[in-house]
Amino acid sequence: MARRATISGVGMTPATSPSKQSRSVIELCQEAAWAAIDHAGVSPDQLDAIVVGNIDGFEGTVLGGKHQTRLLGLGDQLPLTVINTGGTTGGNLMQVAARMVRSGAHERVLCLGGPTFFGATDLQSAINTNSPMIVEQPLGMGAYHMGAFAASAYLQRHGIDAAALGEIVAIDHRKGAANPLAHLRYEVTPEQVMEGMQLSTPLTLPMVCPVSTSACAVVVASEEAGSASGHPTALIKAMGTSSDPYLGGGKGDFAVMQNLAILARRVYALADVRSPRDEIDVVELFAPYAHMQPMQLEALGFCEPGAGVDLMLSGATDRDGDLPTNMSGGPKCTNAGVAGELAPYAHVAMQLMGSAPPEIQLDDVRVGLAHGTGGSFFQFENLAVLHRIGD
């Protein structure tokens, strides 16, 4: 019989840059995995599966997930599933684990996202291996260049001055500075953002995410097994994934996130969310580039098209606003690859459980929305509505 799945434990290591990281991938993974099972109140022999993510090529490995799992010290009887869906690997870990638990086949599944932006000396070149190699890569089309298309189209469509991107980054940094787990923990002014190194118009270096190292793990358990954690858990009320056409040119309109809007309608219907702005208490969005957060807020139905920037500038998405969003600082302040993609789910779950770092913990949050995205021009989106249960 189908059951409900819940996030019952989270483990996350503090993030830093590769040049300051003194520990290896496996050491970070061990710390996150053990912290998650400890938080979930389970012992290693109570786990009955592990779902691990890696992105082939980014770390000079093709079996990264497999070797990590052998070295976690969790025993040798754990069935392993490796997820390798590029930039959405992290978000998909939780969704695959939730399906395993909902099916009744598993009670407690550990999801592990290691740092996957760690080893490449020229990360941009590594990331660019995911862009369509025959018709787009030869044009000098890398990750942030693709991002720049959307930024450019969005600003143009709504007549928004590029200085708004500086304001957005300043907001994210204020939040990241308060989060002890974040990588970039300093504040910036909108002017500093605008004066940063030009990458690809309208994007400057401070408008794109850093290269971070950290690991993240969550335990997904049946509702009954989750109750053993001794604290509230985050029920996975509804979830889903959706994807764009493969080639950039298939998107049709770079100024809107149509794919995410379609997914949001589907997930809200499953969760019986009718008025997202009124019903959702906390949001974590995967927004590694400055323009993405306002576009996502629009696609998710929190405001009208073109009003995302004003929504952020109004303070609504701040700690004391009615829609606290990316209290972690988001991927703009911390992006450790697969760990960074799992992080929105982990942060929302921690907020609902009351287990977030005290500096960023919100009061009385019951319904959360977590989002992930990745790909090239081709974007997979993933989304989940989580409910606090077990008070």
Binding site: T121, S125, L139, H145, L199, S200, L247
Partner: protein, 149 residues
């Protein structure tokens, strides 16, 4: 603070990617200075580059047509920082809606090292394909698009 201990590892791999019949035909067209597209039999959308299946209707595409070599520049970015193995910046990449196409073709606009920083380009400009002298069945057989004066 001590620098973390690391060791250098290098991958050095080359690939030959089989284009298949759909992109093979498109690339052969470029060699002949033709921009070939195909059409979904159900939704009638015109794809360039062509695709073997329609991603909306999930049916095989089988009708081919040649498109005009002109269209509208819908979005672009001026690139200040490229990447290893890519073109040398600054350069401009844009999405072009060729006349008669339903998808956008991503391509280079002018190379800004030819005395143009992209500031004269505007969204909505009419642009035209400029062919390379030597063509080998590659996306860069179109060397760039440029505004129609």
């Amino acid at each position: 603070m001590n620098t973390p201990a690391t060791q250098h590892v290098r991958w050095d791999l080359d690939y030959d990617i089989h284009l298949g019949s759909t992109w093979g035909r498109f690339m052969q067209g470029l060699r002949e200075k033709k921009i070939l597209a195909n059409t979904c039999p159900e939704c009638r959308r015109v794809f360039v580059p062509p695709q073997a299946y329609c991603e909306s209707c999930f049916v095989r595409t089988d009708e081919w047509l040649e498109l005009p070599q002109e269209g509208v520049l819908e979005v672009f970015t001026v690139v200040a920082r490229g990447f290893t193995g890519g073109p040398t910046p600054p350069y401009v990449i844009g999405a072009i809606r060729l006349d008669g196409a339903d998808t956008l073709l991503i391509h280079l606009l002018r190379h800004t090292d030819q005395g143009d920083d992209g500031s004269r380009l505007e969204v909505g400009d009419r642009v035209r394909a400029v062919w390379a002298e030597d063509r080998s069945g590659h996306i860069l057989d179109i060397s760039r698009f440029e505004p129609i004066a």
